[in-house]
Amino acid sequence: MSTPHLAKHQQLGLTDAQVLSMYTLMLTARKFDERATLIQRSGKTAFHISSIGQETAQVAAAFALEKQHDYFLPYYRDYALVLSVGMTVRELMLATFLKGEDINGGRQMPGHFGYRKHHIVTGSSPVSTQVPHAVGIALAAVMKQEDRVAFVTFGEGSSNQGDVHEGFNFAGIFKLPVIFMCENNQYAISIPAHRQVAGRIVDRAAGYGFPGVRVDGNDALEVYGAVKEARNRALRGAGPTLIEAMMYRIPPHSTADDDMQYRTRDEVEYHKEQDGIESFRRYLFECGVLNEELDRSVNEDVMREVNEAAKYADKAPYPEPESALRHVYAKDGGA
């Protein structure tokens, strides 16, 4: 039975405040990302890897999950995801600037998240290693009889690592509460998806006996719905779900990449126009959650936060050199 008086997000169980907050987080991620890119260009930082074009799906997924309760295993482009589950822009900026106060002590490349308090599981560079970890976390949830899911993301290129397949099979056999979300941004560095992925990623789920769903990653509500349903499935013991969220990597792979070597400006421009944040904004206008004035103030707030975070992180000190010796093992005091 349809409920014609409710807006689409309300039908999905999202309040107006929630969708506004989603919009704010998408913007925050975007503005953080643009700033981090500029900072890198200015020479203040060595490296940035961008999530522009992927924020919509990340925020939407996060809102379908439970903060500080479910476990999150992001990959390196998931700024919007980690912001949505509890990290602050200041924390992201501290990581960007590699400062001592960064939760990882300035040790990791930017985009390598980890924050126990927020259930953001520590990640590394070798792609896809997090997939079996998510399966293990889901297994632990079942063993402890806790009502939690593990949510893990990875790129479409990374889906070709053996660990993804082994994780899928393991989770499939034990019907574990894990959600696999592939952020298919159509490139793995220079390699387009069709030269990287034989068949379709979404179709791989069937080979492991669980559902695969392909969604438009630029459509926040579609992603939200798919993740919500996957979470419900997981919690009622029906096992994992694979979600393939289709999107497009707007920027080059990283600040070290020149994407004009392997794609055209036209192609990029075309995809810029499909921007999920912009269409979500339009949707919010249409259903009256957002108006020009509110939008302006949201934008101002976001910019202020980004500015303050950048200023703070820029000034913060680097980690102590000797701190390099700490935390190899449990007891402190060096290697």
Binding site: P126, P132, A140
Partner: protein
């Protein structure tokens, strides 16, 4: 106190830890039926199939899943069916387990135990006999133990489970039934990082681990009749090495022979020789010798090949005599 085989001691260690702590569980290929080498025999009946978990045939997932579970509070013991099959899990071990605490600046940690049955037992051939410990040895963030007695097997197993960092537990398959000794019923641990003097002696020092310790002890006993007095140090832990015990044992005789079943080049013996040559050079009365199998990929299956490859008491005695006379 009871006399247990090395294999029973490992099983007792696992079972007692599972009894003590709900978070401890075993996972691996065929562990439910007891494992192909019987290490987990009877444990599924006692603890249920959830806690003695048969996994798919995927070593990378076994270790990766264990890591995930460990990060959220479990204490998994992952069994690799044979050491030779640990390599598909290398990325999870070296890139992940070893670096989780360090990269997260102590925010996350990874208390897993990976049990690795290694070494030749006779008729195992190239891929059921390997000693891959040197592959993981140079990786800070990992701990590596390799007991030689039933007592140590149980005590180190328990210490490994309770350790807050990843431990590779190398159990020598030849010790499983061949080695039995007194094992207390009470709870005890053998500290990680401590070697043990197995025999006092004055002429030469043998440093070994795993099965090689027993070869060394037998050879030492026989050489005593020839008037050669042998000091034997059992490393027990390979990473971190017990430097002070190594230095003491070195100082005792000034003549060092390192014995292991892993091939010579790049083995753990190299590091032991190196730290001695760095710190105790002037206490040496002879070159530092290593007695290990030749640098070939692994032991051949035919009995003639295997016999040629493996150290035995006679060939070891020869090496020890040579050192004593140097």
């Amino acid at each position: 106190m009871a006399i247990l085989t090395y294999l029973e001691a490992i099983r007792a260690g696992m079972s007692e830890e599972m009894q003590r702590d709900e978070g401890v569980f075993v996972l691996g290929e065929d562990v439910g039926k007891g494992g192909v080498l019987n290490a987990t025999k009877g444990m599924r009946d006692r603890f249920g199939e959830r806690r003695v978990l048969d996994t798919p045939l995927s070593e990378s997932a076994i270790v990766g899943v264990a890591i995930g579970a460990a990060m959220v509070g479990m204490r998994p013991i992952a069994e690799i069916q044979f050491a030779d099959f640990i390599f598909p899990a290398t990325n999870q071990i070296i890139s992940e387990a070893a670096k989780i605490r360090y990269r997260s600046n102590n925010d996350w940690f990874c208390p897993i135990v990976i049990r690795v049955p290694y070494g030749a037992t006779g008729g195992g051939g190239l891929y059921h006999s390997q000693c891959p410990e040197s592959v993981f040895f140079g990786t800070p963030g990992l701990k590596i133990v390799a007991p030689s007695t039933a007592y140590d097997a149980k005590g180190l197993l328990k210490a490994s489970v309770r350790d807050d960092d990843p431990v590779l537990y190398f159990e020598h398959k030849k010790c499983y039934l061949y080695i039995s000794d007194d094992v207390p019923d009470e709870d005890y641990t053998v500290p990680i990082g401590k070697a043990a003097v197995k025999r006092e002696g004055d002429d030469i020092t043998v440093i070994a681990y795993g099965m090689a310790v027993h070869l060394a002890l037998k050879a030492a006993e026989q050489l005593e009749k020839e008037g050669i007095s042998v000091h034997v140090l059992d490393l027990r832990t390979l990473h971190p090495l017990d430097q002070s015990a190594i230095f003491e044992a070195t100082a005792k005789t000034g003549r060092i022979l390192i014995v292991h079943e892993d091939n010579k080049t790049g083995g753990i013996g190299a590091e032991i020789a190196a730290i001695i040559a760095e710190h105790l050079l002037y206490q040496l009365d002879a070159p530092i010798l290593r007695f290990c199998p030749p640098d070939v990929p692994a032991v051949g299956m035919a009995p003639t090949l295997e016999k040629f490859f493996l150290p035995n008491v006679d060939t070891l005695k020869e090496a020890m005599r040579r050192l004593a006379e140097m």
